[in-house]
């Protein structure tokens, strides 16, 4: 009796002690912790990085605006002429808005439907270039810092639509047919990577859908000015204090 019970009792006591310790441990953390997963920590970290980048951008913008104020202040002292200042600003924003023809290094992308007979049996949908394919490619180019983009000679801006309409694609209200030639000005290396790297949409188009897509880098590409609609009938600037 004694021999068999003794170790059992010791184990029982230790188990109880362990239980109390563990319970104590868990209890201790509860006030400071709502469930935290490593994933949520990573997400917060990413958010902080994104915010810091945003702050950096804002500070750059702030600096530029302050320089602008300096120039404007010189007008009152007669060192600068208001018309010159406004003209410079006008040229800058006209360029940013896409109303000037620009040239520079970049890439030219050729996209053509897959002409091979019966490449996918009935699935001919995959062989054809759709508006979303062009949209995704342009989105990737923008992500790689493209400064100016055109599709078959139509400058693509924020207000440009790219829509399928039967056999053609409409851009800036003009109908464009295959083959599609997308030109983009920017860092040629980054732009090429955005189209050809194995995880990109362009790579998938080429190797899975087997659409004909070819990119070449050029030292000098010309991209025309925007010539679509551009009157603001509904949008008005927000005036503070009105």
């Amino acid at each position: 009796m004694n021999n068999t019970n003794k170790p059992n009792i010791i184990i029982l006591i230790f188990s109880i002690l362990l239980g109390i310790f563990m319970a104590g441990q868990f209890k201790l953390n509860i006030p400071t912790l709502t469930p935290v997963t490593l994933k949520s920590i990573q997400m917060t970290k990413n958010e902080i990085i994104a915010l810091n980048n945003e702050i950096e951008d804002l500070n750059k913008l702030l600096q530029e605006k302050e320089e602008q104020i300096n120039i404007l202040e010189k007008i009152t002292s007669g060192d600068e002429n208001i018309i010159d200042v406004l003209n410079n600003e006008l040229k800058k924003y006209k360029n940013l808005a896409g109303f000037l023809e620009v040239e520079g290094p970049g890439i030219i992308i050729m996209m053509q439907d897959n002409m091979a007979e019966g490449a996918f049996g009935e699935e001919f949908e995959l062989d054809i270039i759709h508006d979303i394919d062009v949209l995704r490619i342009i989105n990737d180019l923008r992500g790689a810092g493209a400064e100016a983009i055109s599709v078959n000679g139509q400058r693509v801006l924020a207000i440009s639509e790219i829509k399928c309409g039967g056999p053609i694609i409409r851009v800036n209200g003009k109908s464009l047919g295959a083959p599609f030639v997308i030109k983009a000005i920017g860092d040629p290396k980054l732009l090429t990577a955005a189209i050809n790297a194995p995880t990109t949409y362009g790579y998938a188009l080429k190797h899975i859908d087997q659409v004909y897509i070819e990119s070449t880098t050029k030292d000098n590409i010309k991209i025309p000015a925007y010539n679509g609609r551009f009157n603001f009938r509904y949008a008005k600037p927000i005036r503070e204090g009105d």
Binding site: N29, T32, L38, I41, T44, K45, I48, A50, L51, N53, E54, D57, L58, N59, K60, L61, L62, K65, L72, I82, I83, L86, Y93, K94, L96, A97, L100, E101, V102, E103, G104, P105, G106, D131, I132, L135, R136, N139, D140, R142, G143, A146, E147, A148, A158, I159, E161, I162, K163, R170, I185, G186, D187, K222, I223, R229, F230, A235, K236, P237
Partner: protein, 242 residues
């Protein structure tokens, strides 16, 4: 014999427990960093995040003040002189087009909420996996002659990329999550019918179980683009630039 069997079993279980606990501690230490509890780390990050947010808000405020000052200067100077006044009006127009002015006007608001988790199949997905749909929405809005578009208060410009980053979407380098709120200024009737057409964007989104609200509004506000964009590669073609 029976007695020692029990002992062996208990020894084995204890050994096992010990090894598992040791592995657990080791992995947590490795992934979170030694000596730091995940909760502590999370709190630290939360504080950092808050600080970064405050800093950003301060920068935004400073920027707004500086911009207001520039506006006053330019306007004040421009009013002295008819030529300068016209230049200033032109400048405002191109700034609006480039996305550097807060705009307001009639338009639509499209809210896209993530679908509820599918209990039956355990499938969970979010709009971050369907960037195509966002790109198409913007294209459709542009086809319906939208004048300005924002996504979760990020102005959509000619340089705006929409990228997937983990569970988030990054737009203009700012990370945003569901719900996605797309605002567009333009003719509310046209914009609404363009989205609500049978088999159109709203139909497609609802088909994939997204919770979609589309409303026409008399006054939609679209904020300005907050990044400094300067063309490094693209230069205006000289003959065209006068």
């Amino acid at each position: 014999m029976k007695k020692s069997n029990g002992k062996i079993a208990i020894t084995m279980v204890s050994l096992f427990l010990g090894i598992i606990l040791a592995i657990q501690f080791k992995t947590v230490n490795k992934t979170v960093g030694e000596g730091v509890l995940p909760t502590q780390r999370a709190q630290q990050l939360a504080i950092e995040l808050k600080k970064a947010q405050e800093e950003r808000d301060a920068a935004l405020k400073a920027l707004a003040e500086v911009e207001e000052k520039i506006k006053l200067y330019e306007k004040g100077e421009a009013e002295n002189n008819v030529y300068a006044e016209n230049l200033y009006k032109d400048l405002e127009k191109y700034r609006m087009l480039a996305g550097y002015v807060d705009l307001e006007g009639p338009g639509i608001v499209l809210e896209i909420h993530d679908p509820p988790a599918d209990i039956q199949f355990g499938i969970e997905y979010s709009i971050a996996d369907d960037l195509d749909l966002i790109l198409q929405t913007i294209s459709v809005l542009n086809a319906a002659e939208a004048e300005a578009i924002s996504i979760n208060d990020q102005r959509y410009t000619a340089f705006t990329e929409i990228e997937k980053a983990g569970n988030h979407i990054e737009i203009n380098g700012v990370s945003i999550g569901a719900p996605i709120i797309i605002k567009a200024i333009g003719d509310p009737e046209t914009l609404e019918s363009a989205l609500a057409i049978k088999r159109g964007i709203v139909w497609t989104l609802e088909y994939y179980d997204y919770n979609v609200h589309l409303t026409k509004e008399k006054n939609v506000q679209v904020p300005k683009y907050r990044k400094l964009k300067e063309f490094i590669y693209a230069k205006p073609v000289e003959e065209e630039s006068n």
